[in-house]
């Protein structure tokens, strides 16, 4: 693969930032958090969701998000890149057929025919992403920067990246070939495009992330960005407290203190789970050569934009400060009594 990204590089330098990971690992929250932070630093971020996900509607609560990018608040724009719209754009941009193209695409049958053809969905999606990346404001600078793309699933990312290989031999020298070449060039440009991985610190997501990492590391000409690990729990007890566990357990048994026994059992489960998380993070660290950014847990239930902004700050600072993160930025964090707890946010390598 290309040289790994420097852990201290500017998280907002790249125009096109793609995020991939298994469903349920918190890609949408992370993308929203980074976009909010980018906007606070004076950038013009655009969030792109693919297909019919509606996560950003729930996050920003600004009504439906459609094909045309629009402001969802706090300086963040969002859009939903549906295939139908992208197909019309693609035909209009590449074939100059004007009315005829519209006529053909308005015919649902032909659209479905195109949709079923392998690669068409991916080609028009990539084409639209390229168009967004090239778009300029009247002032002459980029209209959107950075563009955060929430790729739905692991398979989706691979399909986009494998497109040239899948289509090899099936496409001639026409506009598709030319388009594919220019899109591939954008995706392969390490100064413009990053592919980030998102995961959780538990066994199955880590296993899949490692498998995906190996695949990407081997074969694909895309600059891997960072590996974000969501929901890394705090160390449940300080070293000091752990040293008193046996002692208090004995006292609890002698005195038959049920409440205390329960509390100690809860602590043991938390310690065990934390040890498992640590194991999984070590597995990552042993193999992965890109910067790993650990992110704290978000509260259950309603999460506010303020909380996401805090998460974005941690994600961005974790990138820039190599672990020297302002601990106050992390919600619900208790400092260990002797201050000996190692920093758990930020970049490891």
């Amino acid at each position: 693969m290309l040289t790994p990204l420097s852990p201290t590089s500017d998280p907002f330098a790249h125009r096109l930032q793609l995020f991939t990971g298994k469903g349920g690992v918190g890609k949408s929250s992370l993308v929203a958090a980074l976009a909010l932070t980018a906007a606070r630093r004076g950038h013009r971020p655009l969030i792109v969701e693919l297909g019919h996900r509606a996560s950003m509607e729930a996050v920003f609560g600004q009504g439906p998000i459609g094909y045309t990018p629009h402001d969802v608040g706090r300086g963040v724009a969002a859009m939903n890149l549906g295939v139908e719209g992208a197909l019309v754009d693609y035909v209009a941009d590449n074939l100059r057929l004007g009315g005829l193209a519209k006529l053909v695409l308005d015919n649902g049958a032909l659209s479905r025919f195109l949709y079923a053809a392998p690669g068409v969905t991916e080609v028009v999606t990539l084409s639209k992403l390229r168009q967004l990346a090239l778009e300029r404001r009247p002032e002459g600078d980029a209209r959107w920067h950075p563009i955060y793309v929430d790729l739905d699933a692991t398979g989706h990312a691979l399909m986009l990246l494998e497109l040239p290989r899948v289509l090899d031999g099936l496409i001639g020298a026409g506009p598709l070939r030319r388009l594919l070449a220019s899109v591939s060039a954008l995706i392969a440009d390490p100064d413009q495009t990053l592919l980030h991985l998102v995961t959780l610190p538990t066994e199955l997501p880590i296993q899949e992330t490692l498998e995906l990492y190996r695949q990407l590391d081997r074969g694909h000409k895309v600059q891997l960005g960072r590996l974000y690990v969501n929901q890394v729990p705090d160390e449940p007890l300080s070293y000091r407290a752990v040293s008193a566990m046996d002692e208090l357990s004995r006292a609890a048994i002698v005195q038959d203190e049920r409440e205390l026994m329960n509390d100690l059992a809860l602590a043991r489960v938390a310690l065990r789970r934390y040890a498992q998380v640590t194991d999984q993070l070590s597995r990552l660290a042993a193999e992965v050569r890109i910067p790993v950014v650990r992110l704290p847990r978000l509260a259950t239930g309603e999460v506010t934009l303020e909380e996401l902004e805090r998460l974005g700050e941690i994600a961005a600072q974790g990138v820039m400060d190599r672990g020297a993160v302002d601990r106050r930025a992390a919600p619900d964090r208790r400092a260990a009594p002797d201050g000996s707890t190692p920093s758990r946010d930020g970049v490891e390598r």
Binding site: L110, F113, A117, P118, A241, A251, E257, T300
Partner: protein
């Protein structure tokens, strides 16, 4: 079909006793496996859907049924436990003898199979095609190869195909189908019809038998040549030709597809079919689950149960009860309650039989109190989020909640453990 609103009159409504037996408005999943012949598990990623699906099948087997779980993508160790080490997608019987030592007799039989998109597709093409040479022609077609590889879009067809296969022979008393995470699960309902409609489209026939014409030929005066040229411009002439040859072969299979799609649609809406939504109380999981809930209800299928996994941190002595908030106890008071007293920042023992508590014990007591508060706060927030979610569940739909387990299930014994939380013990 969206007019079929779920009502409490449906047979899937749990008997009053099951609701009464539950604590605080939550149910057990017993009626789900007792009353269903097919359970489709849907839900967002990372919520333990595969484990729940396997547990439903295991419990049915324990109750004397022949139960099959069709799973996708299980964690490696769970796959091993289910005997799914092989690379093919054949049905295997799961060895359950190990459970006897844990006091769990499996009266029936448990079977498992993995859904493998590519292999199932190839098998489908062979099954539908009597002629081996015609089948091979499809299998060699590059469009077909790309099509069957695009997992995201084709999983639903494969799942349907396997379902048709395993249910049409009536070999099993219960089939539990695991589905891919989140939204694409609705493809299970939409895809079969879509494929048939697609094959029925004028345009496909028109491309494969150009002289027949169709709606499009009136729209495009220059006829099929122009449309083919347009497609050729979009993609390439070669792609178009492979596509046409792919569809012309596929078109012969249309009747077979249509029959199967109709049968599967009927099956999915049958009385004895239940959809089971699995989610966790995290915000993102509930968003996706809400989308699925609306999608299922609007498609007129029976959302018979919702399983909230990792719904609460259990209290120490009873895993069925969420840990509750308790007023924090001052560490020194707690030491006193233990028969220990604190003096000058350190604690000293009252009786020589009890070891002298250290300063570390005070630190531990204070941190334990924080841990407990955090867990109680989690339970409180989770409970509130689940209640909001339930407001829009169809009446009569079961609501089951499972405690947060310390590990993901890895073997049959872990599944047995999970089944004790899912079903009425005994």
């Amino acid at each position: 079909m969206s007019g079929v609103a779920p009502s409490s009159a449906r047979p899937s409504a749990p008997p009053p006793s099951s609701r009464a037996a539950s604590q605080r408005g939550y149910d057990r999943a017993d009626p789900l496996i007792e009353q269903s012949r097919l359970i489709v598990c849907v839900g967002p990623g990372g919520v333990g859907k595969t484990s729940v699906a396997a547990t439903l099948a295991l419990e049915a087997a324990r109750r004397g049924k022949r139960a099959l779980v069709l799973t996708i993508d299980p964690a490696r160790r769970l796959a091993t436990a289910l005997g799914l080490d092989g690379l093919d997608d054949s049905v295997r019987q799961v060895e359950t003898a190990a459970l006897t030592r844990w006091g769990a007799r499996v009266e029936g039989q448990l079977f498992a199979a993995m859904l493998d998109t590519r292999a199932s597709y190839d098998a489908l093409i062979r099954r539908l095609n009597g002629d081996a040479r015609a089948a091979q022609r499809i299998l060699d077609n590059r469009v077909y190869q790309a099509f069957s590889r695009t997992l995201a879009r084709s999983h639903a067809y494969v799942a349907m195909e396997r379902l048709y296969d395993v249910t049409s022979q009536g070999e099993y008393d219960l089939v539990v189908l695991d589905t891919p995470p989140t939204r694409s699960a609705l493809d299970i309902l939409d895809a079969p019809g879509r494929l048939v409609r697609f094959l029925d489209d004028d345009v496909v026939r028109w491309f494969t038998k150009p002289r027949l014409g169709g709606r499009l030929s009136r729209l495009l005066p220059t006829g099929s040549a122009a449309a083919t040229r347009l497609l050729g411009l979009l993609a390439s002439q070669q792609l178009v030709e492979e596509l046409i040859s792919f569809f012309s072969v596929l078109l012969h299979l249309r009747e077979g597809f249509r029959e199967r799609a109709a049968a599967v649609q009927e099956l999915l809406r049958a009385e004895e079919t239940a959809f089971c939504l699995v989610c966790s109380p995290s915000r993102t999981s509930l968003w996706d689950a809400a989308y699925l809930r609306e999608g299922l209800v609007s498609r007129g299928v029976r959302l018979s149960a919702t399983v909230f996994n990792r719904a609460y941190v259990p209290s120490g002595d009873d895993s069925a009860t969420p840990l509750a908030w308790a007023p924090p106890v001052e560490p020194r008071e707690r030491l006193s309650a233990l028969g220990l007293t604190a003096l000058k920042g350190a604690a000293v023992h009252k009786s020589a039989a009890v070891p002298r508590p250290s300063e570390a014990a005070l630190v531990l007591l204070s941190e334990l109190s924080h841990l407990r508060q955090d867990a109680a706060a989690y339970n409180h927030a989770a409970q509130a989020a689940m209640e909001r979610f339930q407001e829009r569940l169809p009446p009569g739909s079961l609501r089951v909640r499972l405690p947060e387990l310390s590990d993901d299930p890895r073997d049959l014994i872990d599944l047995l453990h999970l089944s004790r939380a899912l079903f009425t013990p005994g």
